[in-house]
Amino acid sequence: MNRNYLLKKIFQSLITIFLVLIINYILFRVMPGDPLQMLMRNPKASGEAVARTKALFGLDRPWYAQFFLYLRQLLHGDLGLSFLHKKPVLEVIASRILPTLLLAGCAEVIAILVGTVIGIVSAWKRGKKIDVISLSFALVTYSMPTFWLGIVFVAFFSVFLRIFPTTGMVTPGATFISEFAHMVDIGRHLVLPTLTLSLVMIGEYALIMRNSLIDILTEDFITTARAKGFTEQYVLRRHAVPNALLPMVTIVAINLGLVIGGTIQVETIFSWPGLGRLMYEALMNRDYPLLQGIFLLVSISVIGANFLADILYSYLDPRVKG
């Protein structure tokens, strides 16, 4: 990978982040219930009070100055105050990041591994029984709304079979004799949300991998590898799969945006104390500063992940140039 490529990608990511900031700014300016509108609706508010509030929020200045004010506040980590929690937005968000990372991370890793394997097997045995089964499984899971799958799991595993806890991250009111027991309890709570979140992704990854591998298997260099006398397994492992994995890298990165959507649903269903549920709560209570903060954070993380994926891609594919 060369320096040029790196610089280009950094530059592109920065532009994307800037565009996201603009969108974010506009979006939350037109939100019903910005502070000024609230004030205006109050018939007792005097002209002086309106002007004072305007000055306080910088609303008396031209739009570009307001935008720069917004940027400056952002750079200082000032995302405003959450209406709901009466605390700085950043602080509220920070307390909820870890559970989401744990959930989304586990689900993503499982989905990538299982999805890739299913895709490979399916493409390799194209048209055979195992392909039909894998393909059907992938398409069915791909077609399920995440939240519904979650509810069904709760109803079946927690309510009917009673093998996993319904909600939360730890058993409420429980005291743990050791750190290990604490972990086990979290683990038990983690199973169903992770399973839900990963299942809906497995289907997509399996489909992408299957198509990509089928594509690669028609390439001439696969014929060359076969002609060289390698076993089919070797051809698959050494020549076909490394090439077929390339589109996966891009898709996984783009999918991170979707995983965030998935966590909103799963965390709502399972009352998982993460960012997704925080966002749902913020939305329900119209806590705009908090909403804006979360949205900005997840957008920038996704852009960051895409940047990392580009770097990984250039490492895997020598053809990528600056």
């Binding site: 979006l27 709304p145 089928i214 709502t268």
Partner: protein, 291 residues
């Protein structure tokens, strides 16, 4: 002209031949037909009134002869609600997909064909929409615009065109390199003519397959939005039913008749679109043909 029609028929015939042999595609088509009939004819046979609340005994009443799928948290008939929801879910899915298809195809073709700075600008813009987390964006937009059914259609359309634009642009780039585009320029054709007359028809098969897949995503989106409370209460879709089911704790009571049918319908519709899209992709995409 007679002969031109014959050609069209022949082309369509070839497509139908491969389609009929595609088991997945046929399954999807049959399933979709079922839901379409349900959406179009169903409400005529079993009309539904969302205000038709039952008495206390009806709340969460299990399936009976009168109410084949039981009754919901307000004592309403689940089957009738389900049939009424089909019309709403399908319309939202299809209409929002149309917005997404038109926008995505237009931007994709213009960006790909124009190239240069226009392309770079348009694609940067598209990338923003591609990386923006999709569900939060929809939720926020729905909150901004207010949750009416038309806003939901608009929101889903506005957030789902980016993928189509990417696919169309990539395809446009390959079509653009084909010599018949250069030939069209050599005989004096203008850019508008080339884009509509040569690029669009050659990109369309892929747009079509992609659009069907987008419909699947759009229906899931609608369901999810409604489930998360952004739905239009006046037009209860399957997502709204699931919202009420979850809110009323149907899962913990074991009221499966309220929980399963709307969910299965969503899965069924989405699956039929996915099957169709996948089958079209397989038929129309030359690289996926059997080696």
């Amino acid at each position: 002209m007679k002969e031109t029609h014959a050609i069209r028929r022949r082309k369509a015939g070839q497509f139908m031949d491969s389609f009929r042999k595609n088991r997945m595609g046929m399954t999807g088509a049959i399933m979709l037909c079922f839901f379409l009939i349900m959406a179009v004819a169903g409400p005529l046979l079993l009309p539904y009134n969302a205000m038709d609340f039952g008495v206390a005994d009806d709340v969460f009443a299990p399936p009976s002869r009168e109410h084949i799928l039981g009754q919901d948290d307000m004592g309403r008939d689940v089957l009738r609600a389900l049939i009424s929801g089909a019309r709403i879910s399908l319309s939202v899915g299809i209409l929002s997909t149309l917005i997404s298809m038109v926008a995505g195809t237009f931007l994709g073709i213009v960006a790909g064909y124009s190239g240069g700075k226009i392309d770079v600008l348009m694609m940067r813009f598209t990338d923003v929409f591609l990386v923006l987390p999709w569900l939060p964006l929809m939720l926020i937009l729905a909150a901004v615009l207010g949750s009416s059914i038309w806003n939901i259609i608009l929101v889903i359309g506005l957030t789902s065109w980016a993928g189509t634009a990417r696919v169309v642009r990539a395809q446009t780039l390959t079509v653009k390199e084909r010599q018949f585009i250069e030939r069209a320029r050599a005989i004096g054709a203008g850019n508008g003519y080339i884009m509509t007359r040569h690029i669009l028809p050659n990109v369309f098969p892929l747009v079509f397959a992609n659009t069907i897949l987008v419909s699947a995503v759009a229906i899931i989106s609608e369901t999810t939005l409604s489930f998360l409370g952004m739905g239009d209460t006046l037009h209860p879709s399957w997502g709204m039913m699931l919202h009420y089911a979850f809110e009323s704790g149907a899962a913990s009571i074991g009221a499966y008749w309220f929980l399963l049918p709307p969910g299965l319908c969503v899965v069924g519709v989405v699956l039929s679109f996915t099957f169709l899209g996948y089958a079209f992709d397989e038929i129309l995409n030359p690289k996926l043909k059997k080696r």
